[in-house]
């Protein structure tokens, strides 16, 4: 069971757009952290993912376990939101 989904994005990132579209199609609610609007949170995305890129999707389950998915990676994203 999902507790929350947070995506770190930028305005110009096409892959971010795809992740958001995919979650919307699947009916999954998410919080978005737009790094163009909140540049101070870029380091948070980097700490979570270990890389300097977006999208970073953080899936938190009911038991508070977390999965961090970098990029538009359906092979990981699809099972993570079930």
């Amino acid at each position: 069971m999902l507790k929350s989904v947070t995506i770190f994005t930028t305005n110009t990132c096409a892959y971010c757009h795809m992740v958001k579209k995919y979650l919307s199609i699947k009916g999954v609610k998410y919080d978005e952290v737009n790094l163009d609007e909140n540049p101070h949170r870029a380091s948070e995305a980097q700490q979570l993912s270990g890389v300097l890129t977006v999208p970073v999707t953080v899936v938190t389950k009911i038991d508070n376990s977390q999965e961090v998915i970098v990029g538009y990676n359906l092979a990981r994203l699809a099972p993570a939101i079930v």
Binding site: T10, T12, Y15, H17, A42, L52, Y72
Partner: protein, 399 residues
Amino acid sequence: MDLVDEIVLFGADWCPDCHRSIDFLNKMKIKFIYHDIDKQPEYKKKMLELTEGRNVIPTIILPNGNILQEPSNQELSKALGLDIDQINSQNKSIHELIIIGGGPAALTAAIYTTRERIETLVLEKGVVGGMAAVTDIIDNYPGFEEGISGIDLSDHLQKQAERFGAVIDYNEVLEISKDSAGLKKLKTVNGDLYARAVLIATGSDYKKVKIPGEEEYFARGVHYCATCDGAFYRDKKIAVIGGGNSAIQETLFLTRFASHIDLLVRSSIKASDILQEKIEQYVKEGKITVYLQTKTLAIEGENNEVKSVLIENKSGKKSQIKVDGVFVFVGLDPNSKFLIGSGVQLDEIGFIKTDNNLQTAIDGVFAAGDIRSGATMQIASAVGEGATAALKIRHYLED
């Protein structure tokens, strides 16, 4: 099928259920006459007579005189005396056209083929819009006087293709071959698919520069997508490797984040004059420094962070430039690895060879856009090739 030779279908281009019924009849190879109610007032009048004044499409007249209003495929097949289960098993995953790739060439072809009522499945493994989608601003695509963002152009193309009935599926093709019946078999990560015709429009990806440090610091300081990763370099120093249109365009985009950019060009800048003029402004302001005839030898760093690049000028003098990140735009690599051994002929770089009809060495398999040998790597050209390929495919399917 003699009994069903004179079906008349009243519909409209904007109507998804009409497309579904049309696709079904096409798939069943059942002939029918199509009357678009938006094109001829008498068609609309006739449709209203048949439905007793109700605006319902598709409205279908069967040869025995029965009228079907907005039938499901099940109802339509039952009315035609067809066994849908048998048909489904016989026609499992056989498509009229499968387009591999979801960039401008692919989506344009899909707009054209679906408008021609050719059932079309588009398979995209990454981002719809392809390379165009990850481009910040597209300034040279006709019709947008202020330019258009890559994301917006891709969105428009996708919606337009879907409006006419194209289906976009997220899937990756691993192999392509031909079966004994002449159908094209696509082995995908989600199983096998079959099609009467295939269009390969897989485009290209940014090429690696192949220097030490590039792999090691990938996504940790080495990047290939400015629109995705540029935001991590706010007020930082970066280097851009490359001197073509993409390199200059992306450098201009990165100026909104970086405090300074070193542009490392192996020979000379080959970008269009307008882009060069824009770069000049930043050079004058001191925000960009251009190094011509300069080889980038290595990307160096420590503790998972890029610290510098090692460069060599034309006289062989080496020096180090301190940077926080490196963006690489040194040309394009064709997305054609899955075609090796398929019978589709590739040129020495890996782009697909086609004839004048944009057909590859495999009958019924076409190619368009950046993936085609000789392509000009322009979105406007890719769109044109997509339209041309669609028309050639229509001829092929009619034969």
